[in-house]
């Protein structure tokens, strides 16, 4: 048992060294530089919590216009070449693929900026 534990500890100690050597850091391009809704350190650590709480308030309580929103993210962070935050080198995807976290927000939400939303007035005959 003791040997197993020692072996496990050795793996834990080695693991960071291996990952640092093996993977290159993600490159993040900010297309529209400016002030985000919170400092970068806070955004990096807490953006998922901000979005999660905001989405529940918006969807379930109908509170609209809060600072954190996926549409807000893409307005600043969508790539100027692809128009999207997903895909290779996309703002969201570059970090998420580095961290090996599956990104499924954009299965339902539109990842491209500036996609026009046709209004009911336009379809009126």
């Amino acid at each position: 048992m003791k040997r197993v534990l020692v072996g496990f500890a050795a793996v834990l100690l080695l693991a960071p060294a291996v990952s640092i050597a093996g993977a290159s850091k993600p490159t993040i391009t900010i297309e529209n530089p400016g002030e985000c809704i919170a400092p970068a350190e806070e955004m990096r650590r807490n953006h998922m919590e901000m979005l999660k709480h905001q989405r529940d308030r918006t969807l379930r309580q109908g509170i609209r216009g809060e600072s954190a929103s996926l549409n807000g993210c893409i307005n600043c962070h969508a790539s100027k070449t692809t128009g999207s935050v997903t895909g290779k080198g996309g703002f969201c995807e570059s970090c998420h693929s580095y961290a090996a976290i599956k990104l499924d927000c954009w299965d339902c939400h539109q990842p491209k900026a500036g996609k026009k939303h046709a209004t009911a007035e336009e379809v009126k005959p």
Binding site: Q61, G62, I63, N71, D107, A120, P125
Partner: protein, 250 residues
């Protein structure tokens, strides 16, 4: 979930958070705060949200609804980004559909749009195992896709066949109307428009003015006045679901 249940506890936490914020940001590490201080919205204050004082409803006059016209269905598809090319046409999402009816005895024919009836006692909400199917404080019944597991129990429970399931990956959603594979969806009274003070797309588009949208709880609203004055019908009223959508001439 519609409204906070334990107000005193929330109030205390809020006060405590405000106190901490007043002392300065309590940071454990860069970016790691003990209590997250909500950022002010730079573009203006967030809206108040859905109110239980309002109950949104719709009144559809079948005498004005034209057989063969599907402008409302098209407007719904445009507004909500229902534009996918289907592998199997039977799998298409129907948030609203036109139904042609005929009285076999007298050959009377008429047409009506059918969609989610926004029940006050929705069976889809009763059966949902995850709480994804829910009713907002203002009576709009909708699906929280974040918690929907796609079991389709609500589709079985709905007496109006109002819900659809998305079978294939989608890419051309409208920014304000997220929808995607593996979730159940249905008419939500164009909640993104209603929250802006607009009418649902189908109501806005109807060339005959056959659809009326408004607050059933407001006695002075046009819809409440007409329901008080004229005969209206709830489809399958025997189920006692207290529908938000009412019809005339059926």
């Amino acid at each position: 979930m519609n409204e906070p249940q334990d107000k005193s506890r929330r109030g205390f936490i809020g006060t405590a958070a405000a106190g901490v914020a007043g002392l300065g940001t309590l940071a454990l590490a860069p970016g790691l705060h003990l209590i997250e201080v909500t950022q002010a919205n730079p573009t203006g204050a967030p809206s108040q949200g859905a109110s239980s004082k309002i109950r949104w409803g719709m009144l559809i006059d079948t005498a004005k609804c034209v057989t063969g016209c599907d402008v409302c269905v098209k407007a719904c598809a445009t507004e909500n980004g229902i534009n996918e090319t289907l592998k199997d046409p039977r799998q298409g999402s129907q948030w609203i559909r036109k139904i042609d009816l005929k009285d076999p005895k007298f050959d009377r024919t008429f047409s009506l749009p059918m969609m989610c009836q926004h029940c006050a006692e929705p069976p889809c909400v009763d059966v949902c195992p995850t709480g994804a199917s829910f009713k907002r404080a203002d009576g709009i019944v909708l699906v929280d896709r974040h918690t929907c597991i796609g079991c389709r129990y609500c589709m079985m429970a709905c007496p109006y066949k109002a819900r659809s399931f998305v079978h294939q990956p989608l890419t051309e959603q409208n920014p304000e109307v997220p929808r995607g594979i593996g979730c159940v969806e249905s008419c939500n009274f164009c909640v993104q428009r209603v929250d802006k003070g607009l009418k649902p797309a189908c109501v806005e588009s109807c060339p005959e003015g056959a659809m009326l949208f408004g607050d059933l709880n407001d006695k002075n609203s046009e819809i409440a006045q007409r329901i008080a004055r004229e005969a209206t019908t709830q489809v399958r009223a025997d189920l006692k679901l207290n529908l938000g959508v009412r019809y005339q001439g059926i």
